[in-house]
Each structure stands twice: as C-alpha cells, then as structure tokens.
C-alpha cells in the first residue's frame, strides 16, 4: 500500500472505451518518483489515451489511475503535474515571458521564470511573441510552460514531433537537465532512438495494453536473436535462409545480412560452410524488439519455433523487416 502511495504514477486495471473501441484495455503500471520513462507505441496504440487518463483529462471506465496516491485531477490541482500536450500550438498575442510567468504563477512553488526559460533554452526569446516563433522554438516554449511550475511529474506527449535533428538534441539536453533535478518524467514518442537514449525505462503499449516494460537492454534481450553479417566473397546466397535460426536474408552488395533467432547456431552453420569472412554478430536492435513486441496478435506470434518454420515466406519476411536502421516506427509500420 505504501508503495502505491509513494508511486508517482500508478494505473490499476485501467480501461478507457470510446464506443466499441477499447483504447486503453487494462493497463497496470507503476512509475517511481525520479524515473524517466518512455511510452512507446504505434499511432493508435493507446499512448495518447493513456496520457489523457494520467492527466485526468479523461476518466477511466474501469480500474483506477493515481498520481502520488491521489486522483489525477487532485494532483493537477495541487500543482504536482506539468504537461506538454501533443496538439498544443502557439498561444497568440503573448510574449514568451508573459506566458511562462503566467503558468508559473498558477503553481504553489514554481521555479523562477528565468530558470524555466534557461532550462528550455529560450532565454533570448523572452520578449518575442509566441505566435511569431519557428516550430522548434514554439516547441521549446511549450516545454518551458510544462516545467515552469516546477512540478514533480512532467508529462511530454510526443515532444519532438516535427523537430529537426538539431532542435531535437537541444530539446533532450533540456529534458535531461530537468530530470536530473530528481523529477519524474514520462514521455511518449515514436522515435525509438529517443526512448533508447533518454529513458531509464521503456513501456511498450500496443492494442491498449502494456506489452513490455523494462530498460532498453532488457527489451532487446527479451526479443533475443540478432543479426549475422558476412562477406559473400563471390559465394552464392542459395540455401542461406534454410540455415538454423535464420528468419530472413538480405544481400547488400557483396555482404549478406541474416536475421536470426539463434545467432550461435547460425554462426556454427556458416563456419561449416566456410562463409565467415568479415563475420559480424550484432544483438537485436530496439527496432527489432519493438516490432516483435507489437506484432499484431494472432497474425504474428512473438519470436519462437513457430516463427522459424514460416521463415521461408519472402512476403512475410519483407513485411517484418522493412527498414533496419529506421528510427521511426511510422515508416517501419
């Protein structure tokens, strides 16, 4: 019980229905104070609804949601929560400082406005009107608005959508400085690299349920398997897909890349064939883990023996591994 009371965020069997759709379908999760947690999921997986429940913008139809041991609306009222909402746009006809100062003033123990501006990296924009800033600058203003009240929990719903690479780096640097102060941070994203790089813990949501919960390393390990690459050195590619563990084969130039459920067995088999020039074995990436974890129920079972048996279907393999290096699930799915 004390555990629940101390948790920054706690969902117990939370369900939210919109008509016949169960957008959130029985979510249980606990986030301890000070954690930086990423919420990963495809579009429509239930990320935004989960965040709405968390912020008290929606009430769960079943189960309960608590922040710091009280209902979300009470925690919000008490100034424990700051949020950067997904669909927020620039507020017209106010300056950056006016806006941030106004929001800070709503909270019982806000941080000084200058500090909020500095943390968000917008000190030099303080006197500018919010509606005359670039997209990246607006985004940082919204971040300043979220942290101005110095809330114990900050929730960022896809904070870097529509940011370029540079702005994204600047943003995460700011977020880290805030998290380092001991605050709890929950952010949703569909950029896997961001979850990998900036979260202590990753929650993967799919079909309204939490399908995985752990560190980036744990998620990758849970998926198992990996990538085995070697130089063909003129050798043929025939039969590679029938090697033990191999799920798919990709040839780039003179190099073959095998997706495998059992890298050891695959390597041994390759060694027997003498095909080990430039051999490389890499663990599964977070992309792989994500795709495996969010495989549609029934149609794509998690990695395992059944999967290996169907590995000869090229259509299927093509569907599963469309873009190895893509950081963006949107493109991948």
């Amino acid at each position: 019980m004390t555990q629940t009371e101390r948790a920054a965020v706690s969902f117990t069997g939370a369900v939210k229905k919109f008509g016949a759709v169960r957008a959130v379908d029985g979510v249980d999760l606990t986030i301890a104070p000070g954690e930086t947690v990423a919420l990963l999921g495809r579009n429509g997986a239930g990320k935004s609804t989960t965040i709405s429940l968390l912020l008290g913008l929606n009430e769960p139809d079943e189960g309960s949601v608590e922040l710091f041991g009280e209902p979300p609306s009470a925690a919000v009222r008490a100034g424990r929560v700051g949020a950067m909402l997904q669909e927020g746009r620039a507020v017209p006809r106010v300056t950056v400082r006016e806006l941030v100062a106004f929001v800070a003033g709503r909270y019982p123990a806000p941080m000084p406005v200058e500090r909020a501006l500095r943390l968000a990296g917008i000190t030099e924009l303080a006197g500018r009107r919010v509606d005359r800033l670039s997209g990246g600058q607006t985004q940082r203003v919204r971040f300043a608005v979220a942290l101005a009240g110095n809330p114990a929990l900050i929730v960022l719903d896809e904070p870097t959508a529509a940011l370029d690479v540079e702005a994204r780096h600047a943003f995460w640097a700011s977020m880290r400085s805030y998290a380092r102060l001991g605050h709890t941070v929950l952010f949703s994203t569909h950029h896997l690299q961001e979850a990998d790089a900036y979260a202590d813990r990753i929650l993967v949501i799919d079909g309204g349920r939490i399908v995985a919960d752990g560190t980036s390393e744990e998620l990758k390990r849970s998926v198992g398997g990996g990538l085995v690459a070697f130089d063909l050195a003129g050798g043929g590619t025939g039969g590679l897909e029938r090697l033990p563990g191999v799920r798919s084969v990709e040839v780039r130039g003179d190099r073959a890349r095998l997706r495998t459920d059992d890298p050891d067995a695959t390597v041994v088999a390759l060694a027997e064939l003498g095909a080990i020039r430039g051999l490389e074995v890499a663990p599964a990436s977070l992309d792989d883990a994500f795709l495996a974890l969010t495989a549609a129920e029934g149609s794509r079972p998690p990695f395992g023996p059944e999967r290996a048996s169907s590995s000869n279907s090229p259509r299927r393999a093509g569907l599963q591994w469309p873009a190895f290096n893509s950081a963006d699930i949107e493109e991948a799915s």
Partner: protein, 238 residues
C-alpha cells in the same frame, strides 16, 4: 484569476481585428451616421447610445471568438493541466469579456461628448456607461456559448451574424421608428433593443423601464443557460 484576466485582456487588446472592428468601427459609424444626415441633437444622443451598445455587443461576442481560438490551439486543454479550476477559467473569460466591452462604450461616449457636442448631466454619463457595461453581460454569455460550442471559423460567422442581426433588429444602427410596425413589434423582444433602451431612457432623464430590464433579464437567463450547456458539452470533447 486576476492574472488570467490580465493575460486575456492584454491578448484581446493586442488583437488588431478587435481594436479596429470592436472599437474604431463603432466610433466611425457613429460619427458618419450623425454627421451626414440632418443636424438633430436628439438623434446624436440616441445614436451615441446605440453605437456604444453596438460596439459593446461586438466586443462581448468577441470574447467567444477568443474561446473558440483557445480551444482550437489547445490552450484551454493546457490550462486544464495547470492548477487552475475550470470554474476559474470560465469566470476569468467572462470577466475578460466584461472588461473588453469598456473601450468601445467609452470611445463612442467620448466621441459623442467631445466631437458631437452631446450634453448630458454627469450622472447621466456615468449611469449610461454603467448600464451599458452591465447590460452587455448577456451578450458575453451568448459569445461564450458560441465559443464553447462551435469551431473557430463557425464561431466567427455565428458571432458576426448575431452581432449584425441583433444590432439591426434592435435598432442600434437605425432607430426603430423607421421600421414598419411588424418589425417594430418584433424589435421590442430583442435583447439589443432593450439593451440600448437602458441607455436612452437615462439620456431622456428617467430610469430604465421595467419592461427593458425584464426582457433583458430573460435573455440573460437564456444566454447564460446556453453558455453553461455549451461549456459542459465542450468539457466532454476538449
């Protein structure tokens, strides 16, 4: 909530559309209408009240346009994740409306007194300003009702239609004495006619008729309920 009021009033006054459409237009129309036709002191006073009323109605409805805009950009949703209560937000908005009607009222009255030579006792000036100010509350509620119910663009159209329709029907632009009988009868039930009547009766030197207060009171209730219903409905979606 005072901070919120200050922020929203500031945002409204920075809106060029508001300053031109809500304040400058009524003043210009007043000066135009009263100086083109025959020089008649009585009309200048009545038109002053009518145009001040027109400006106040426009500004009051404009509050609703602000709400629709804030809804569209997610600002109202953002406020819901701050410690502000919904009641504070709505009250703040209503108060914003009641502050932003003042520039129009005062500007038209000033134009009447300073440029058109309207002469009234000091108490009459004060009473007219006060009554027009209080009398604009139903229109603020109508604007809020539109703003919470409709999208940004439709709110603009709805507010414009309400503003022009009610202004013309209520005789804020042209005196109802020019109307045919049936339209005059209809006009007596409009909130705008009764609203202007608050001011014209004071200008004539007597207290507003009970009928004016009664009809306006009924509209206050109607628009107030409309605003509450719209707000509740928006709470479910926004």
């Amino acid at each position: 909530m005072l901070d919120y009021l200050r922020l929203e009033v500031r945002r409204t006054l920075r809106d060029v559309g508001f300053v031109i459409g809500g304040v400058a237009m009524p003043v210009l129309m007043y000066l135009l209408f009263t100086n083109l036709g025959a020089d008649d002191g009585g009309y200048k006073t009545a038109a002053m009240v009518g145009m001040a009323g027109y400006g106040a109605v426009g500004s009051a409805l404009n509050t609703g346009g602000g709400v629709a805009e804030d809804r569209a950009i997610g600002w109202l949703r953002q406020l819901r994740v701050t410690p502000m209560t919904p009641r504070q937000v709505v009250m703040g908005r209503a108060l914003t409306g009641s502050v932003t009607v003042l520039p129009a009222i005062l500007a038209v009255l000033a134009a009447g007194g300073l440029l058109n030579g309207v002469r009234l006792a000091l108490w009459q000036w004060a009473a007219i300003a006060l009554l027009l100010w209080l009398g604009s509350i139903p229109f603020t509620l109508l604007g809020l009702g539109n703003g919470y119910r409709l999208t940004g663009q439709t709110t603009g159209v709805a507010n414009m239609a309400c503003n022009l329709g009610l202004a013309v029907l209520g005789g804020l632009w042209f005196p109802v004495t020019l109307f045919p009988d049936w339209l005059r009868a209809l006009s007596a039930y409009t909130p705008t006619y009764r609203f202007a009547q608050l001011g014209t009766s004071v200008a004539d030197g007597h207290a507003p008729a009970l009928g004016a207060v009664g009809v306006l009171g009924a509209w206050l209730l109607a628009f107030g309920s409309y605003a509450v219903l719209s707000y509740r409905r928006s709470g479910r979606t926004a």
